[in-house]
């Protein structure tokens, strides 16, 4: 179990190998990579800056990871989130959830992302091609996705 916040890019093959090394009880590895898109609501995006609250970020990600581990009996998991300046096509976030079977692995990875999106203190500022810079607004759909885990809709 581990969480990392860093400016460098990640290598999913290397992370997956490290996470599953020596544990051949793992039959299922679900993962998610979030990337910077080239458009936001139709407007071309030039770059994105990710700010975070060092200290709280790690604490919150560890709480999310511990809860996912408990709920889905994960064998191993990882959250890596990048901060700093990113361009379209760059990786932003990686989550990996390992379990004996695929349902738990998929549910674990989705849970990690849903809670990361609504609880982990990261903020995105987008710079558009026309020069405008703006802080991304939170989506109600993300709150709904996280809430669904509490009401057993998922």
């Amino acid at each position: 179990m581990s969480v990392r916040v860093e400016t460098a890019d990640f290598d999913i093959s290397a992370e997956m190998a490290r996470l599953t090394a020596g544990n051949t009880g793992i039959g299922a590895v679900a993962s998610f990579v979030g990337k910077v898109r080239d458009h936001v609501e139709g407007a071309p995006l030039t770059s994105m800056t990710l700010e975070h609250y060092a200290g709280m970020t790690e604490a919150e990600l560890e709480r999310i990871e511990a809860e996912a581990q408990r709920r889905f009996n994960l064998s191993a998991s990882l959250i890596v989130h990048r901060v700093g300046d990113l361009k379209p096509g760059d990786n932003i976030v990686l989550v990996i959830a390992c379990a004996s079977h695929r349902q738990a692995a998929f549910a674990g990875a989705e849970y990690l992302m849903d809670y990361l999106k609504t609880r982990a203190p990261f903020w995105k500022k987008e710079v558009l091609a026309n020069g405008d810079a703006r802080w991304v607004e939170a989506h109600e759909s993300d709150d709904a996705a996280a809430m669904a885990w509490q009401t057993s809709e998922k």
Binding site: E51, M56, E60, I92, V93, L116, K117, P121, W135, A138
Partner: protein
């Protein structure tokens, strides 16, 4: 921990557009004794004058963490050493 009345020194931190609007990323100050909850602290921020008044004009758009944990407006700040103000998070 002591039960006698002491001055409450806290570190306040600001992120994203709250950092930009206040022009402050971190400050250390002594809280007035009347400020007991997060909601009261948000009201006090809005009353501090420029640029805090504008930054805290819509407290419902602001999230607060006490010592690295999310809290609700009703939470007591009595034991907090670090209090952070930020917009709803947008990572991932």
């Amino acid at each position: 921990m002591t039960t006698e009345k002491t001055t409450h020194v806290v570190v306040l931190r600001y992120f994203a557009w709250l950092r930009e609007k206040t022009g402050v990323s971190e400050e250390r100050l002594t809280l007035a004794p009347g400020i007991a909850t997060v909601a009261e602290l948000l009201r006090w921020q809005a009353s501090r004058g420029h640029p805090f008044d504008a930054a805290f004009a819509k407290p419902e758009a602001i999230r607060v963490a006490l010592d690295h944990a999310h809290v609700k407006p009703s939470a007591s700040i009595a034991n907090a050493a670090e209090i952070a103000f930020f917009p709803p998070v947008t990572g991932g």
